[in-house]
Symmetry: D2
Subunit: 151 residues, 4 copies
Amino acid sequence: MEQKEILELLKDFYENQMPFDRLLGIQVESLTPDNTRVRIDMREELIGNFVRGVLHGGVISSLLDLTGGLIASVELVNHMQGLEISEIKRRLARIGTIDLRVDYLRAGKGKFFTASGSVLRKGNKVAVVRTELLNDQNVLIAAGTGTYLVN
Amino acid sequence: MEQKEILELLKDFYENQMPFDRLLGIQVESLTPDNTRVRIDMREELIGNFVRGVLHGGVISSLLDLTGGLIASVELVNHMQGLEISEIKRRLARIGTIDLRVDYLRAGKGKFFTASGSVLRKGNKVAVVRTELLNDQNVLIAAGTGTYLVN
Amino acid sequence: MEQKEILELLKDFYENQMPFDRLLGIQVESLTPDNTRVRIDMREELIGNFVRGVLHGGVISSLLDLTGGLIASVELVNHMQGLEISEIKRRLARIGTIDLRVDYLRAGKGKFFTASGSVLRKGNKVAVVRTELLNDQNVLIAAGTGTYLVN
Amino acid sequence: MEQKEILELLKDFYENQMPFDRLLGIQVESLTPDNTRVRIDMREELIGNFVRGVLHGGVISSLLDLTGGLIASVELVNHMQGLEISEIKRRLARIGTIDLRVDYLRAGKGKFFTASGSVLRKGNKVAVVRTELLNDQNVLIAAGTGTYLVN
């Protein structure tokens, strides 16, 4: 497979093949080696607290975790070009979060939220990714750092 | 309100008043000063990966976060006895996660999972709570440490 | 005291009044509201591993912790102008680290290292600060996120 | 080499071969598969704050990091029996901290401090270790969670 096809596979994997990602309702808005961005639209089911009407902390940690995992996966795509689809799927399925830190910085108010990030450590065993969640006014809601097993 | 009533209020708050907790389907199995335990039953929507059929990392971080928040809240209940319900609700609504670390230790296989924990730091401003998630075979699936703003 | 004097006091506090900072041999190169930078020169005592000749992980975590504390303190200085020196000292002594995450990204090779950072969360109770450690070639050696009690 | 010899080598490695560990003045009190304990005696150079006379946060993070590293190393020793000393040294030198969380729970007052811990995740690539620091009155001063690269 070529890079573009693998990235499409990865997008489909996260948007459609993971039941909990579907339950959350995430959309992978951008997925390129330079720019990965995940969006979620606010809806009542994602609220943590009726009184304040803000995004639940669990939605925030889920978004930062999966966005970091996507970014760690994109890093690997360059090394996957030319491989068979079965081997690519096998390698993508092996990527997993080892640990995650989330800093909840401000109440999650907004109509929609976008998560993005950057790689701090590229490795053949472990990757470290910093992520951020912004609301529709580009206010920083939360920040994350995740360590991912990539092989 | 008395301690027992406040704990009932807190249980209802987590099980019924937080829309995302309802979406997850959590049950507060035990809520006493010595023993807080949250349960979630496995179902297809909570899966992270069809191939492996395991709990999504976001469900795990959500559970550890909310269990830590519950435990930090229970600590405060002793100081709330005799207060009006409106004041108690106001104080409970102010409790929030500052930061959280989650260690994903084993694949989340099981029919149900239970989260519990203990307080590392009791404070009048900040509490630190260590949490653990076990599956139905009592295998440790994930561990967490959360810092909570309690005033 | 005026802002400039308080910043001098803070610099002296970190460079000369904390015995372990003196043992490490840190220098506060810059301390302004926009730019805090701490430097340490490599020397044999700071090595973690003779074979590889790199900075010990404990030196790295110490530097990121104290740099984050300095940055959290500088944030408070604006609110301290006009106060008596005794009150300022009292407030600065109360600032403390609640928790810290350090990501060790590359082996700490270099003749000197500089730590800097930025505030993610400004609060009247808790501040969150992201920090980075670079070597003399501006290579990122480690990254940190610390939560500080500021009142 | 046999297990007992390898553990002696590891003890010597931490106590005598790492210059910064010597500067700190750590003693490996116990180093067996079931019980690893590191001690440090309080002295003026380790103080973070003259006014309060407590252990510097950097000493605490250093101790928890190195104790976690020791515990991760001991786990590997079982797989090293029968290997040549050069190969054992090569493997031990490869062990490194990927990331660390430290929770500073109470002021570090005491005449001496001991750090110990337990393995949360044993892996052939990555180990996760929880650690704790107690003072001479067995009061919990700080807790840590570290992720270590073990191969």
